[in-house]
Symmetry: C2
Subunit: 539 residues, 2 copies
Amino acid sequence: MTVYRLDQLDQHKALVQCAQDMQRPQAHLKHLIAAPDRLQNYSVRGGGLFLDFSRQRLDDRTRDLLFSLEELLGLRERFGMMAGGAKLNVTEKRAVLHTAARSFDHAPVLVDGKDVLPEIRRVRDQIKRFSDQVHSGRIAGAGGKPFRHVVVIGIGGSYLGPEFVSTALAPLADRNITLHYLANVDIDNFGAVAKAIDPPTTLWVVISKSFTTAETSANTAQAEQFMRGHGLDPAKHMVSVTAKGSPGDDPARPVLQTFHMFDFIGGRYSVTSAVGGVPLSLYLGYERFEAFLKGAAEMDRHALDAPVERNLPLIAALISVWNTTCLGYQQQAVIPYSSPLAKLAPHVQQLNMESNGKAVDIEGQLLPKPAGVVIFGEPGTNAQHSFFQLAHQGRPFPIDFIGVLRPHFTQYDARSKGVTNHQELWANMLAQARALAIGAGHDDQARFFSGNRPSSTLLLDDLSAENIGRLLSFYEARTVYEGFIWGINSFDQFGVELGKKVADTLRGEMVQKNDRSEYGFEAADPISKFYLEKLFEKK
Amino acid sequence: MTVYRLDQLDQHKALVQCAQDMQRPQAHLKHLIAAPDRLQNYSVRGGGLFLDFSRQRLDDRTRDLLFSLEELLGLRERFGMMAGGAKLNVTEKRAVLHTAARSFDHAPVLVDGKDVLPEIRRVRDQIKRFSDQVHSGRIAGAGGKPFRHVVVIGIGGSYLGPEFVSTALAPLADRNITLHYLANVDIDNFGAVAKAIDPPTTLWVVISKSFTTAETSANTAQAEQFMRGHGLDPAKHMVSVTAKGSPGDDPARPVLQTFHMFDFIGGRYSVTSAVGGVPLSLYLGYERFEAFLKGAAEMDRHALDAPVERNLPLIAALISVWNTTCLGYQQQAVIPYSSPLAKLAPHVQQLNMESNGKAVDIEGQLLPKPAGVVIFGEPGTNAQHSFFQLAHQGRPFPIDFIGVLRPHFTQYDARSKGVTNHQELWANMLAQARALAIGAGHDDQARFFSGNRPSSTLLLDDLSAENIGRLLSFYEARTVYEGFIWGINSFDQFGVELGKKVADTLRGEMVQKNDRSEYGFEAADPISKFYLEKLFEKK
């Protein structure tokens, strides 16, 4: 594929001009959305979801210019190369195959001449067998008691994705298993989990590709000490999800089972691999995990096959880049009007900010300005009562509203003010998108709403496992497409390395102090030394 | 007090010049923090906490200029007026007396000539008596069984503050009561709570100043239907926290007890009133709630009494304004290295964004640019594995790191790599602040860290109720001081009104449709109409 600089394209110059034109009073959203067929021309259904971008600050010319980037930059072609096994993670020389994790096709996907699908299927079969055996009690805890608690030890991509999905589908969890997450190395995270579980009926799922992640290793060591303290054998209460040959895949350190993950699936894209597969199958049953995979696979096909004007994640990505690079918005909110989607924003926060929070292009050249935005969000209507003051009258930022036609708990249908609570929820979602767009005049500036604040609305029919898979894949594909447009590598994360390196130094100081109480932190910088002294004086 | 425009002050012009000077290579943080006594000159202890701002992009001249704003703008004088009962919420003509909610002083605080403290003390006494009686079983659920679950129905300020405090102090909850929050009008929020409780031993605490908040009314109606469905009398399972004379204070609608809240305490500042008092006393015991109040009161006194160069919240506020208005940062992250502080960021998000997300000054004149920033955050080290890629290499934003010297669960002391988990947590916190500041060179741009990314570090000795009170008051006072400096009203929130108004219209459409299924949503705009049809076709 050719390499390009977005900011050097004629189309980019034209888009910058469009962005200036959008500042004119007649380009205010209240006028744009008044056009007949606005919704029809600025919405699209596909991959099982519906995306309305009628309230983005786009006119036909801008939209068509953005759409023209698809062919110019070969965006779908790049997506196809990715799904076909090309090593698009150039800095780490790795393929990017989260799409293969949910593939049920049989056409081979080759990496270095080898089809990766048989291994993926083998792991899926292993997950199915294992979770079925846990549910039937054939694999059980101490004294043969069935497992009732699963604690997932993992951080970042080994935590946020599974947490998003398990929270979204919690009302479907019918296997008599409670799921807990132990991500933070903070012992207060450990303590809270320890209080909530019953050790003899607890299964610990340790997830780390390298099995050297500092937090996960530390939490695993603490969990093993805890199990032994309860007279339990860690080997009989633990499984690992890790790369083949890692320290977690070492027969000298036995566990109930080891499930393999692969270097061609990055952490933040790994929910549909064994990372999500093991905990979600234990919690929800393997069948629901498979339904989730199939929903994700459907959106993957849509992301690859649908022409740009009907391609949800591609359109969403073009809008992200337009909003960030051309209109200058530095934040984006994700506001699901659905409590079970409460953990979507933290997941997308990692997925998107770790993927696209980059200052260099794919060739390592500094970008003219950094890519990526701050992603944040809380469920609506909670968000309305929290930070929407700033959204309406302070600093504007684009919003993804997410609506769900049918909630989980349809049996609760009390009415207030003549509507059900679900209708009230929808009245609010629709009202916010509209109010932000149109604004309202007022003689008193304190009660004036300038409007012209952009949003998209994404619709799910319900909160089925399939739809959660579609939603997951939508945000993954949107993130990947954004990276393609910006011309960056969305699959590495060197930005986390420096902190680790400095932490190694400081940990070294602590080790010396633990060994010799008279050690004076001689190798630490003066500011860190002050804190190290504070920490140790309190011992 | 005189009114001023920050942007028209000579000091502001000088600060803008300072901001330009800070772009020079020699003003990079790696140089600034190398100065001897940097930490000593840029840190302060007071009100029971410690604030290190050595890694903010400040030199002596800038710091001193910022400090000079205190006298020039009468910042502490304004704070004193606020705490003394002045009606600083000018648009709503209300006093701003959250500080009185935790006052144990006896000097009167007059509003319209009347001392507010006796009523505040009366409500506190009522909370003490009530929670003691619930704990002793004298006030009990159906069949005389003691209450074991408390569900707080409230949203925004009636939710986020209590949630922050109850999460922070959860390991101290020893009254055999589980606390649940029902904020969102989403019935999936209701359904999740309904599954988790035992109706006969559940007490519902309905919190709404006006008792007309749409979400809270709808959830209360649903809860009452649910109780009746379980053969329970809502009047015997419910208390209200509301303004005197509101519909929630109506003897025709009986509840176990009503606790009053006052119009001089705004929702987002109300945690230390009955809003927090009732649920927190039930959950933790009244004594801990009072300890929490006393910590907050200590920080209030510090915020008022300490001269600017030793005043934590005032310094933090000056830095916020400097970062936002002069250096141009549009976001700020709150990263506690402590899992129990997981809900601090959502609380501060509301507190700060609703208070200061304003476009007009106190006189209703448009500001040259909007005040306020996007506040977001997750606990460290989780945040490192999520969005810190962008923090280190993408778009920079200032960070509040929050460290806790002694966690709740000190008994878990397994070591990994020669350090305890608590030490590992600290190694990471210290490393992040340092790495962001200093950066690191590299021939490969993809592995290059530009550094110069600002942060503060706030230290708590432990997670006692007192310290959580201090932390709460610190962020409240910081928010208030920011508003004073920007010259805005931090106590109104007209930005939420337009959405409510549009929602009223859309709810009206739904009511008509509920009444007559042939109704065609004739009064709705075309885009909303599309969604209303979708919602109703699925019925």
